[in-house]
């Protein structure tokens, strides 16, 4: 008997096989999301997934929920509109580092600043994989990329630090092989209000690993996992990533702050009194 994939009820099985390479970390990350969703008490009809463009951007296309595959870098502002227009929805952004942090970087910091109530899962594979391995704002110093053929000399962003300083209420980082912990982190964000950010360090077996001679995807996935150091509550200033060095993982930030809609609601109730018409979406 053919065994069904455990995530099948939440996967668009009519779209499988997916496009991801064997041993790529995006698939395991999507599995973690699906496990967390399956285990959650959320009404899954009210969960939307939004992706931008890139390898990870294909995530929305495989998950069997209301799902939106939009433009490059703009998953967050799309999600912002969706969430604000219907606050009853749980909105998850699933996309890559180039998409969210480079072309979408401005939207990222502003959504965090406003504390828009969305979950952002950012799969960081240190390069632009879909277009063939160009340098990105996450590429570690000295790593090789097609547009940094002699090694990268641009200092990358430290994503947890960027997220925290922009205003995120929940910031965590795991590798794609921390299956249980990553699933647990996603579960926490599903019950968290506010801008939650999850960075997932993921091997790009086909492009980044090969170009940098880091072995096959599986060994790189293991390398990231085995070279990670769990430091919950670490100062996000100190968690920047260097080429093939230790990766600090853990939950760095978990605080409470009024979301955009809560702050708006509270403010208008106070200043407009009875004239204020609270908004809860339609339908």
């Amino acid at each position: 008997m053919k065994k069904e994939h455990p995530g099948a009820p939440l996967l668009r099985m009519d779209r499988i096989p997916h496009i991801w390479c064997p041993t790529c970390g995006i698939g395991t990350t999507l599995n973690c999301l699906i496990s967390a969703l399956s285990a959650s008490k959320l009404d899954l009809d009210k969960v939307s997934v939004v992706s931008g463009i890139g390898c990870t951007g294909r995530g929305a296309g495989y998950i069997k929920l209301d799902s939106f595959h939009v433009t490059h870098g703009r998953a967050i502002p799309f999600a912002t509109g969706l969430k604000l227009a219907n606050p009853k929805l749980k909105v998850i952004v699933f996309s890559g580092d180039g998409d969210i942090i480079a072309i979408g970087g401005n939207h990222f910091i502003h959504a965090a600043r406003r504390n828009i109530d969305i979950v952002v899962i950012c799969v960081n594979n240190f390069n632009y994989a879909m277009t063939g391995g160009q340098v990105g704002p996450t590429t570690p110093l000295t790593a090789n990329a097609t547009t940094m053929p002699f090694g990268n000399y641009e200092k990358p962003f430290n994503l947890p630090y960027l997220a925290e300083s922009s205003g995120a209420v929940y910031v965590t980082r795991w590798t794609a092989l921390h299956i249980r912990r990553l699933t647990g982190a996603i579960s926490e964000t599903l019950n968290k209000k506010g801008f939650s950010f999850i960075e997932v360090i993921s091997p790009c077996s086909t492009i980044y690993a090969r170009r940098n001679k880091l072995g096959d995807g599986l060994s790189l996935m293991k390398f990231y996992h085995d070279n990670s150091e769990i430091k919950h509550g670490a100062n996000t200033r100190d968690v920047n990533i260097e080429f093939q060095k230790k990766i600090v993982v853990g939950k760095f930030v978990d605080i409470e702050k009024p979301t955009f809609l809560e702050a708006r609601d509270e403010h208008y109730r106070r200043v407009l009194g009875e004239k204020y018409q609270p908004y809860g979406g339609i339908g």
Binding site: F68, A85, K275, Q277, G281
Partner: protein, 385 residues
């Protein structure tokens, strides 16, 4: 369906075009606006931000026009009528999501209060130089609907029309204002809510499992759903089949893009709107739109005093273009005179449709102010021969 009275400010007002546009949006049922400040359009969002907490809905000032132009798509997929407002430089940034709105077939309204360009140009002064950008600005093949109001009253009325058309055809609709119309103040009459017709969203009647997001109805428009209703649907900016799934093939491209284009072309007769005056037997027909149509009126009257038979055709809906009508008229009139606040945009459409059967004269104007009616008058006289 009648308008929701909550958003309708019934009465006689003294409003500028920007404010009237905002009231039109509220009357049409728009409950989500995302915007970024830009002269001369900012008054629309300023008014909306003050009105919406007392009507019930959301305004958010985004970090740029890239994000405003897609936040409204997210809101629309949550089932809420949505709009963004901008001017030339912002309109340029929005092109990305105009393409996405077309591709996802998302009802929404983009307002462009045109100012002089290129680039930063003339922030506080008018032009009509974004007309072709509205038609062709985003990459790929598509058709759009664009409306051109020429007074604050029309800014109110036609914003409602824009929303209704966007719901009817599941497509972004442009309201192509200009600085002059946006900032001129005139009487605006807002009727009672039960006198305002609004087009409801065309939701599917099919249950989840049976519904296909891109299976068109007879008019080529597919019924829609919204997030949260259990359909677990997928939409993508990639070329997609009726299920909404990406398919990278020439066949799928042909089926999808051909329908997207035909959706407007086939229904063009129902969408196109123009106003004609003294067309029968006219030797010269002035084709104009927006504020320029009002300026041209004076020139037309001057020429008539000189005994020239001048007709007027004002484009209310500019896109889709009334090709058939211009073709008909080309066989009957000597010449078309097209004044517009640019160096030639809509005139090319007129010329194309006239196909040499009537002469076509442009009255160009770089913007910054409206035409001097004298210039239009001179061109009419020249065209009359």
């Amino acid at each position: 369906m009648k308008a929701d009275p909550k958003g309708v400010l019934t009465g006689s007002h003294y409003l500028d075009g920007d404010h009237a546009c905002c009231e039109g949006a509220l009357a049409a049922g728009c409950r989500f606006v995302a915007g970024y400040p830009i002269t001369p359009s900012t008054e629309v969002v300023e008014r909306f931000s003050a009105r919406i907490p007392r009507v019930g809905g959301i305004f958010i000032q985004m970090e740029d026009e890239l994000s405003s132009s897609i936040a409204i798509l997210g809101a629309s997929w949550a089932g809420v009528k949505s709009m963004t407002v901008t001017s030339g430089p912002g309109f340029s940034l929005m092109m990305e999501h105009i393409g996405l709105a077309v591709m996802l077939e998302t009802p929404c309204v983009y307002v462009d209060v045109q100012r002089g360009g290129p680039s930063t140009g003339l922030p506080t002064l008018p032009s009509q130089a974004d007309m072709m950008q509205a038609r062709w600005g985003s990459h790929g093949d598509y058709e759009v609907i664009a409306i051109s109001p020429s007074s604050p009253q029309e800014c109110f009325d036609m914003t409602i029309d824009a929303f209704n058309l966007s719901e009817q055809y599941r497509t972004p609709v442009f309201l192509m204002m200009d600085e002059c119309v946006g900032h001129m103040t005139e009487k605006v009459v807002i009727p009672p809510a039960d006198k305002i017709e609004v087009t409801p969203r065309r939701y599917t009647k099919l249950p989840p499992g049976k519904y296909l997001p891109y299976k068109p109805d007879r008019d080529l428009v597919p019924p829609i759903v919204k997030a949260g209703d259990g359909y677990r649907f997928h939409v993508t900016g990639l070329t997609h089949n009726e299920k909404g799934y990406p398919v990278m093939s020439a066949d799928c491209q042909e089926t999808l893009v051909h329908r997207l284009v035909d959706k407007i072309r086939v229904n063009a007769k129902k969408i196109i709107r123009y106003e004609e005056e003294k067309i029968n037997g006219a030797d010269v027909i002035v084709v104009s739109y927006g504020i320029t149509a009002r300026v041209a009126q004076q020139a037309i009257e001057l020429a008539r005093k000189d005994g020239v038979k001048v007709g007027s055709l004002r484009l209310v809906v500019v896109w889709p273009f009334p090709e058939k009508r211009i073709r008909e008229l080309a066989g009957k009139t000597k010449a078309f005179v097209v004044p517009e606040m640019n160096y030639g945009q809509i005139v090319f459409e007129v010329e194309r449709c006239a196909a040499g059967r009537a002469a076509t004269f442009l009255v160009p104007h770089g913007g910054g102010t409206t035409h001097n009616p004298e210039d239009i008058y001179k061109k009419i006289m020249e065209a009359a021969g």
